[in-house]
Symmetry: C2
Subunit: 151 residues, 2 copies
DNA sequence: GCAAGACTAAGACTCAGTCTCATTACGCCC
DNA sequence: GGGCGTAATGAGACTGAGTCTTAGTCTTGC
């Protein structure tokens, strides 16, 4: 999981420009912040982080930026069963992952698993549907909170 | 998918009684309504349906009833990416299923898949976590809306 | 530099879900 | 059956995430 992904932010800017979007300070800040996230963040996290950076951005602008990004497949919206949605950059190589939430401490961990992806791919045929997208969310207990050890 | 599942409602009543809960009209109505649902319904659906039945129930009571049921593992709460959560009875035999949402018409379809369950079971070991629960949500296009045919 | 219109900020608004508290009624004891 | 303790209920105020509106600002093409 990259801590900062300048390639994603450059890619995002390029896609938006191609789509005829002008640049705007608020959206650029959101893209910048997202590129620096190790995992998913909520709109309110973004609002708070930008305020801390001394660049307070209107809430509507944040949601608008996230909408625009999601529209172009640049961010992925996640419902983690909390009251608020979380957002994370979607890499341009199509690679994607899923999440485990620790029910004790709330930690969010990303993982990927080819078997799982295969099983889901096969499902489209079985169900007679075109499957465009899927979410998988696991809930459990992490090592720190008493999950199985030793490592 | 049973249209009405009297065994679930009886089971739910029994579990709640064992847990020391008294019976109450509001919760009984919610249990009754849930038992009759083919798939997940939202709290507002429940509120509306009970009002239509001429048995209007306070919103707080509905959420309280759903909370109590979820606490005892009798209903499952689903986030379908809509603004509101949905709830469905959890069968006592531990059998569970997942959902596909059609992005065109919004239809919710249930399915189960042993391969998928196996893949998820194996993940706990791989991740070194105890996995207690999981949600899978597929998004796609159903047959009626132009998904793959022929039937 | 200018104009068009895309972008932004502030905050009012909506709506799902929670909380409070007065009232009702279940279930046990006598 | 009547009384009592307490869980369950209902009404509606409240909270907080997300949306909408509107006036103003900034980009960009000319």
């Amino acid at each position: 999981m990259p801590i900062h992904d300048p390639s994603w932010s450059a890619y995002a800017h390029a896609v938006l420009e191609d789509a005829g979007h002008r640049r705007g300070g608020a959206r650029d800040e959101v893209i910048d912040l997202l590129a620096a996230q190790p995992c998913a963040v909520s709109a309110h996290d973004i609002e708070g982080a930008l305020r801390q950076r001394g660049r307070p951005i209107g809430r509507a602008s944040i949601y608008r930026a996230l909408d625009t990004l999601a529209e172009h497949g640049l961010v992925k919206r996640l419902d983690l069963g909390r009251s608020e949605a979380c957002y994370e950059p979607a890499r341009s190589d199509g690679h994607h992952h899923h999440h485990v939430v620790c029910e004790m401490c709330g930690t969010l961990t990303a993982f990927d698993d080819p078997d799982l992806e295969d099983a889901i791919d096969r499902l489209g045929d079985r169900l007679g549907m075109r499957i465009d997208d899927h979410d998988v969310l696991l809930r459990g207990v992490c090592r720190n909170c008493g999950g199985p050890g030793p490592r």
